[in-house]
Every structure is written in C-alpha cells, then in structure tokens.
Amino acid sequence: MRIVLLLLSIALVSVAEAAEYAVVVARNSPIEALDSERLRDIFLRRRSFEGGIPLVPINLLGEEAVRTQFESLVLQMDRGQINQYWVTSHFQGIKPPATQASLQSIKTFIERVDGAIGYLPISMVDDGLKVLHEF
C-alpha cells in the first residue's frame, strides 16, 4: 500500500511540475536550444543575435498566464521590475520587444518572420515550430 501511495505521489508531483509553456522558433531555424539566462538577455534586448542570426523577440499583449509565467520563471522579474527596466532602457534608446494581441498571432508571426522567437502553451506547438526551452 505504501509503495502505491509513494508512486501515486511521485506521479502527482511529476504532473504538477510538468512544463505548460515553451519558447519556440520556426521549424527551419538553425537554433536548437537556449537556456533561461540566454533567453532573459534576448527578451531584455541585451543580446540580439544567436549563431549570427538577428533575433526578433515577441511578447504577448497584456497579462495572460503564459506571459506572467514567462516573466516569473524565465526573466525572473515581476511586472514592476520589468517596467523599471524598460523605463531605464527608454533613456538609453532601447524599446521593449514588439507585442502580438493573441497566441495565434504570435504563432503566425514566428512561422513567418525570420529570427522571430516567442512563447506559447505547449499544446499549441505543432510541426511548424521548434521548442527551444520549456517552462
């Protein structure tokens, strides 16, 4: 009985910790994987290239769960810290990444624009996209 309970709890923890979202690029992108530190630099526009390719990070408009999770788990910043960062960057002539209004438009943008990189629920990832990082 104890073994069954143990296995059950491990299974529950695994389900609870399973990644729901992914950072993705187009399937034909030569980029294979990126760690969260590199992603943080890209989405904070400290870095603009990967393997010589100019990158176009794209954010979801508003405060949907996928965006807040991305900011919390990958950028490791809350919205106040992010606002402060972009206000300081505005003085340095740096704008935040462009936004798209919906998850579907992010998906389409990534598929069509060279170097585009964004985040989506894993359930939306299909053959046109490549997963670089799960969170």
Partner: protein
C-alpha cells in the same frame, strides 16, 4: 513671484499625475516609455525641478528639460538624439533674481551599429561608459537629487567619439567598452570637462545573484584657461560594485585621478562613495550615502553624508527629499526635486 514659480511646479506635477500613470499597457502611450511612432521613431523626454536651501542659498529651478528621439533603421543600425536645456529657469529666492536658459544643446547624438553581441560600435556624442552614476545621469533615474562630487569633477561625462562594446568572448556575463575621442566635444555648452582627446576601457561582470562589479581606466587631455598651449593630461582608474534585490540596493564607486601639466607637477584626486537604498514599502524608499573626496591641492578632504527619501507613484515619476551634512557645516543643505521621464 514665489507663488508664480510654485504654481508652475504644481501645474507640472498635476499634469503628470493626471496622466494617470498605471501599469504597463502594451499599446499606445505609457509614461516613461515614450511614444513610439514607428520602428524608426520613438519620442520621449524628461524634466526635473529642484528646490535647494542652505544658509547661503535658496533657489528653485527647472533644472533639465529634454526631448529625445530614437529608432532603428534595421536590426543592425539605430540612432538617438537628445536635446536638453540645462538650468532652463532659475529663481534665486535669496537675492530675488531670475534667469532662464531655454535654447537647447545637443546632449547626445549617436549612431549604433550592431555587428554581433560581441562587437557593436557607437559613434557620436554619448555618455562615457564609466561606472554607474555616470550612465544614469538624469534626476528621475537616480536615487537622490544630488550627485556624488566625483561624478562632476573627475571624468568627462560625455564622449564625442567611438565606443566599441559588447559581451566579451571570454565570459558569458562579462561586458567590455573601448572608447576613443580625438576632437573637441560636439557641443561644449553643458559638459563638466572639455577634453581634446580621451580614451579608455571599461569592464563589467554580472553575477546571477544580483551582484555586479566593474572597473575602468582612461586618460584625457584638456586645454586649461584661455592661454593657448597650456594643457593637462589626466589618468583615471575607477572601480564599482552594485548589489540589488527586491528591497535593498547597495552601490559603491571609487576613483583615483592623476593630473599632470607641463611645469606644474602632478596633482592627485581620489573619491569614493557608498550608497544604500532600502525600499521599505512599494514606491517608498530611504537612501543614505557617504562620500569622501580629496584633491591633494586642497589641504582638507571633504566628507559628505546624505539621508534621503524617495517616493515614486510609478517609476518614471519621482519626488525626492534629502539633507546633506558637509564637513564645512555652512554647506549643509536641504534639497528636494520632482522629476519625470515621459
């Protein structure tokens, strides 16, 4: 007359607060992020007002008024232009005099080329990439209204030249700058030092726990006085460190200068400051700074202690109060400011 000035300051404050600075909206205008017209053009600017009171001085000033334009021509080329009126309006309440200085000067004008993350080039008039304080020179981005003395006297704030910079190939979180100026400044109206040449380098290392360290070294030459041919050459070495977390930040910078002039021997200056900020509630913080400044040409080193308070209804709107204790007590003063980045 005092009422008129206070009404001007009050009107500016009301204008900003009426702007209802709320959380980030990703479309349209948001205070502190400028107005993006298209990829080529984002417009913005800032202003600050300051009130200062000591035993000898009581003045109110519209300190800086600036507009900025910047944009990207492609993912490799971009530019920035900043025009600023410094001391745009000063009311000396002690002597009951007024002065204004509205014609703007070129604060920054540069073009960027991004070759890669390891090699980018900035050409034009720009902020010298030395330390922390020098790179956040406007009131609204600082923790206090006043600047540490070294930031005004020991390194040229601006560079009219080239800065090659990027992530160093040796380390993932190590950044470098190599900069060079070989001409007069593009606009010498409002600069602290007017070098004829200036070169140096800076390195900074970011650690994952919110800690950052860096340093720089350089040399500049400037003409002194109106007599032709009289020049000084100054070398500087600078170290800095910063730690940030959710509630605290701690910044320290130290610098040593050695200035030499033909027939005048060498003079050395050294300065250090340590500043702590405690964000005890959202939008409210307490700041303390200790400064030490010693010019060997002056017998007594100067020590300054500052205690301040900062209130930011949102980050790009800042109201600050501070009191400064100087070694020479007649220099003690109260300073308050209101500043906005828009």
């Amino acid at each position: 007359m005092k009422f008129v000035q206070l009404r001007v300051v009050g009107a500016c404050m009301a204008l900003c607060l009426l702007h209802h600075p709320v959380m980030a909206q990703d479309s349209g205008y948001e205070i502190g992020l400028g107005k993006s017209v298209n990829d080529w053009l984002t417009l913005g600017g800032y202003f600050s007002t300051e009130y200062e009171k000591s035993s000898a001085v009581q003045q109110l000033q519209l300190d800086d008024v600036a507009v900025m334009a910047y944009g990207e021509f492609s993912n490799r080329f971009s530019y920035l232009l900043e025009l600023e009126s410094v001391n745009a309006y000063v009311a000396d309440l002690e002597r009951d005099t007024r002065s204004s200085n509205f014609p703007p000067t070129i604060e920054r004008l540069y073009f960027d080329y991004k070759g890669s993350d390891h090699l980018s080039v900035r050409a034009g008039k720009q902020i010298t990439p030395v330390g922390y304080w020098n790179q956040q020179p406007i009131n609204v981005l600082r923790e206090t209204s006043s600047n540490p003395r070294f930031s005004k006297e020991m390194v040229p704030k601006f560079l009219t030249g080239i800065d090659v910079h990027g992530f160093a190939p040796l380390g993932e979180d190590l950044t470098y700058h190599v900069y060079l100026q070989n001409s007069r400044d593009m606009d010498e109206s409002n600069i602290n030092i007017k070098p004829e040449s200036h070169y140096g380098f800076a390195l900074a290392k970011q650690y994952g726990n919110g800690w950052r360290i860096g340093g720089s070294a350089g040399r500049f030459k400037e003409a002194i006085g109106s007599a032709s041919g009289t020049r000084t050459a100054t070398r500087y070495w600078q170290l800095n460190s910063r730690f940030d977390n959710q509630h605290y930040s701690l910044i320290a910078e130290g610098i040593v200068n050695t200035e030499s002039a033909v027939g005048a021997g060498r003079a050395r200056s050294k300065a250090v400051y340590v500043q702590g900020e405690y964000r005890y509630r959202p939008r409210h913080s307490l700041i303390s700074r200790l400064e030490y400044f010693h010019d060997t040409g002056v017998a007594v080193p100067e020590r300054i202690g500052i205690l301040g308070y900062s209130f930011r209804p949102v980050f790009p709107v800042s109201l600050k109060l501070e009191y400064q204790w100087h070694q020479e007590s007649s220099n003690n003063r109260f300073v308050s400011s209101f500043s906005v980045l828009f």
